[in-house]
Amino acid sequence: MKLKFSFLITLLLALILVLGACSGDGSATGGETDDEPTENGSETEDIDESDATEDDGEEQVLIFARGGDSESLDPGSTTDGESSRVTRQVLESLLEFDKESFEVKPALAHDWDVSEDGLTYTFYLEEGVTFHDGTDFNAEAVKVNFERWSDPEHEYAFTDDGYVYSMYGTMFGGFKGDEGHVIQEINVVSDHEIEFVLSRPLGFFLQNMAMTYFAITSPAALEEYGAAINENPVGTGPFKFVNWSKDDSLTLEKFEDYRVEGLPKLDRVVFEVIPDNAARLISLRSGEIDIMDGLNPDDAVGVESDDSLVLHTRAENNFGYVGFNVQKEPLDQLEVRQAINHAIDREAIAEALYAGYANPAKNPLPPSYMGYNDEVVEYEYDLDRAKELLAEAGYEDGLEIELWTMPVARPYMPDPETVAEIVQSNLADIGIEVKIVREEWAPYLEKTLQGEQQMFMLGWSGTNGDPDYFLSSLLHGSNVGSSNRTFYENDEVDELLDQAKVAIDQDERAEFYKQAQELIAEDSPMVTLVHSTPVLATTSSVVNYVPHPSTSESLAEVELQN
C-alpha cells in the first residue's frame, strides 16, 4: 500500500509536470503536414449520400469544424473569437458588417441618425421582429442589454457569477461611473426608436454597434436563465440554439420566423471541435465535415489541387511585428531601431512562413482599413544602410540584444520560433548578436507589459474594423503599461490619434491617421512584419460561403449543393 501511494503521487506529479510543459504551445500543434493529395472524390460523395439517407433525405446540415471550442455563448461577456463565430448566427446587433469588409450595414436597426455635434445617435429599429423565445424585439430590449454591460450593479449583470464585459469597457471607454465612459444616456423614444447620448464624440461609435460582441439577447431569457445565459443564448438571428456538448459539438437549427424572408437556407449547423489541423483536413477530405477553419498554409497547395475541395482566404485583418522597447538601451536610439528595420527581410519571412499567404507590412494597420497610408516609405532590406546607421549610433563593433519569442502560434505569427531564427540570422549579418528569450504565454504577456524585454514579438487582430483599435491600442502613450508594449510615446502622435478618435467626419479622421502613420514610421518603434491572410477550406458542395476578416461570418445564405 505504501509503495502504491508513493507511486500514485509520483505519477500525479509527472502528469502535472507534463501538462504544465505542454500548456504553453497548445495551439502550436498541428505541424504535421498531410501533403498527399488524394483522388478519392468518388468515395467522398459516397459517404455524403449515406449520411444524407440517415437524415431523412432532404435536411441540409452543415458541419463547421474548428480547432477550439467556444468559451461562452453570451457575446458581451467574452472576447473569444470561437464564441463570436457561433453567437453571430444566433444573435444580432443593431448594425452588422458587410460580407467581406468592415463597412457598416443595417441589421436590427434599419436606419439611424447622428446629430450635428456627434453626441446623439438615434436608431430606428426593425418592426415585427421576435426573439427565438417568442418575445418581441423592441427598444426596451436594446436598453436592457446595454445597461447590463455598462452597469455591474444591474440585475442581469451577473457580476457575482464572474461575468465581466471587458469588450464593452474597451470599446466604450469604461463602465457606468467611470470618467472615460462614453455612453451617458440611453433613451427609449418609442417602441422602435432608441437614442444614445454620448458624453463626447466617438469616431467609431457606429463600427462598435456592428460588433458581434454587442448583440442583443432577449430580456425574457436573461430573466429565465440568469447566469446560465452563457449556455442558453436567445437572440433574433437566423439560427436558434439547440444544444452544446463541450469540446465536441454545438448544434444550431433554422429559426423559421427569421426577419429576412427565405433565410437561412440551411436546416442545421453543427460546430465541431477537431483540435489537430492535420486531423481536421483528413475529416474534410473524407467528407465528415463541410468547412474547416485553420488550415496550415503549407496544406493550401494540396487543397487547391483537389477538385472536391475549395480553398478560401480571409481578408487581412491583423499584423505581426517585432517590437522595440524604446525606453531600453540600446533601442532608445533611433538609429539602432532603424538599422534593425533595414536589416530584416520581410519578404523572405512572408514567403517562408506563410507559404505566400501573407503580405509584407509597412504600417501597423491592415491595408484595407480607412486611413491606411500607402505613401509611407517602407524600410527596405538594405544591409549597407543598416550598417551605416549602426555606426552612426556608435555600434560599429556590433552589440548584443535580447529577442523575446512568443510561445504560441497565432494567425499573424504561425511559427514564432522560425521567425525568431530568421531575425537572428538577419541581424547577425549587421553584427548584432541576438539572444532568444523564451517565456510561457501568460508571463510573456505580463512581463512585456512591464517592460522587461528589449525586442519582442507580438501581433494584433482587428475587431471593429477601425484604425483606432490598432494605432491607439499599440502606440498611444496613454496605453503604455496596458496594450502599448513598445513604451513608445510621441506627443504629436498622441494628439493626432486623440483628434481622430473624437472627429465625426470620416475623411477628416482618415487624414489624422495618415499623418500619425508617417510619424510612427519615422520613429520606428517596431518592425512591421506581415499581414497574414488566414486560409481555410470547404468541400465543393458548400456554396455562398464568404469568410469575413473578423473571423465571424453569417452562415444564413450558405447552402449545400451536390
Binding site: L15, T38, E54, S166, S245, E272
Partner: protein, 333 residues
C-alpha cells in the same frame, strides 16, 4: 474482505486531501495570471484587474484554498472560470467519454495482448513468438500521435472504412442520456446508430490500446513461461492433460496475477485521460478537459479534474486488489 474494503476506502481520505494540497500548490506555481491568459494579448490593464477581482484571484492563497476545501466538502467541485458552469455538472460527459474509450481500448489490449502472450509462451522461440514480441516492442515504442495520424490517413481518408474524428455522426446527433454513446444508442433502440458509434470507437481504441496491448503481451509471456516451469504443471502434464487445457485451465490463472496488476495500472493511466489520442481523434474526454483548462489557467477545473482522475485511479487499484482474491483464493487480506 469487507473490513479490508472499508479500510481501503478510509485510506482514500488522506490521499485525497494530500492530492488537493499538491494540486492547489502546483497549480498556483504555474507561472501566469489566468486573467491575462483569458483576455489575451489585446487586454487592457483595467480589464485584467476587473476579471481578477471577479474570479477571486486577488485573495491570499490560504483563503483561496480554504474556500476550495469548504466547497469540496459540500460536494461542490467549484465553478469553471472559463465557462462559468459548475464543474460537477460539466465533468460527467468528459468522464463518460474517457470511460467508453478506455473500455474499448482495454478490451482490444487485453484480448490481443493476453492471447499473443500465451501463444508466444506456448510456442517459445517459434516464428510466431519472435514476430509477436517484435510487434510488442514496436508497439511499446510507437509514438501514439504518429500511429493515430497514420490510422486516420489509411482507414479514414484512403479506405474510408472508419470515421476519423468525434464520437458520433454529428450531422444527426442523438439526445444523450448516460453520455456513454454506445449505451445510449442501445437505450434508444437505435441499432444503426450503435454501429455508427462503434465505428467511431475503432480507430481511437486501437491507437490508445496499442501500448497497453504490447505491455500486456510481454508480461503475459514472461509470467506464463515462469508458471510453465513449475512443479504443478509438470504434475498436470503427467496426468495426461492436453496442452490447451494445461495452459488455459491450469497455468493461466496463476500467470494472470502479475498481468492483472499491469492491466489495472494501464486502465488507470488511460482513464487519467489520453491527451494525444483524445486530441487527434477529437474525443472530448477528461484529458482534453484538464488540458484545455491548463492553457486557460482555469484553476478550479485543473484542481478538481486532477482530483477526480486521482480518485478514479485509486478506485481502479482497489478493484484490482479485490480481483486478486477472485483469481487466487489463497490470498488473504
Amino acid at each position: 474482505m469487507f473490513a479490508y474494503t472499508m479500510r481501503r476506502l478510509l485510506m482514500l481520505i488522506p490521499v485525497l486531501i494530500g492530492m488537493t494540497l499538491i494540486t492547489f500548490s502546483i497549480v498556483h506555481l504555474i507561472p501566469g495570471n489566468p486573467a491575462q491568459v483569458i483576455l489575451g494579448e489585446t487586454a487592457t490593464a483595467t480589464a485584467i484587474q476587473d476579471l481578477e477581482e471577479s474570479m477571486g484571484l486577488n485573495k491570499p492563497y490560504p483563503v483561496q484554498y480554504t474556500i476550495y476545501i469548504t466547497d469540496l466538502l459540500q460536494g461542490d467541485l467549484g465553478t469553471s472560470l472559463r465557462s462559468k458552469s459548475p464543474i460537477s455538472s460539466e465533468i460527467w460527459p468528459y468522464i463518460a467519454a474517457t470511460f467508453e474509450l478506455t473500455i474499448f481500448a482495454m478490451l482490444f489490449a487485453v484480448f490481443i495482448g493476453v492471447n499473443a502472450g500465451i501463444i508466444s509462451a506456448w510456442k517459445q522461440n517459434s516464428w510466431f513468438d519472435f514476430l509477436a514480441m517484435l510487434f510488442a516492442l514496436i508497439g511499446v515504442s510507437m509514438p501514439v500521435f504518429w500511429l493515430a495520424l497514420m490510422e486516420q490517413w489509411i482507414f479514414a481518408q484512403q479506405l474510408d472504412w472508419f470515421p476519423s474524428s468525434g464520437r458520433q455522426n454529428n450531422r444527426d446527433p442523438m439526445e444523450p442520456i448516460t453520455y456513454f454513446y454506445v449505451l445510449d444508442s442501445l437505450i434508444h433502440l437505435d441499432f444503426a446508430r450503435t454501429i455508427t458509434n462503434l465505428k467511431h470507437l475503432v480507430l481511437p481504441s486501437i491507437a490508445l490500446g496499442t501500448i497497453p496491448m504490447a505491455i500486456i503481451a510481454r508480461m503475459t509471456r514472461s509470467s506464463m513461461l515462469e508458471v510453465m516451469k513449475s512443479d504443478y504443471i509438470r504434475t498436470v502434464r503427467a496426468k495426461g492433460s492436453g496442452q490447451f487445457l494445461v495452459i488455459y485451465k491450469h497455468a493461466l490463472k496463476n500467470a494472470l496475477i502479475p498481468v492483472l496488476t499491469v492491466i489495472g495500472l494501464q486502465t488507470g493511466v488511460l482513464l487519467g485521460g489520453a491527451i494525444l489520442t483524445e486530441t487527434i481523434f477529437s474525443w472530448p474526454g477528461i484529458g482534453r478537459y484538464v488540458y484545455e483548462a491548463i492553457s486557460y489557467r482555469d484553476y478550479p477545473v485543473i484542481q478538481s479534474g486532477i482530483l477526480v482522475i486521482a480518485f478514479i485511479f485509486v478506485m481502479i487499484n482497489l478493484i484490482v486488489d479485490l480481483l486478486y482474491k477472485y483469481i487466487d483464493p489463497r490470498i488473504k487480506y
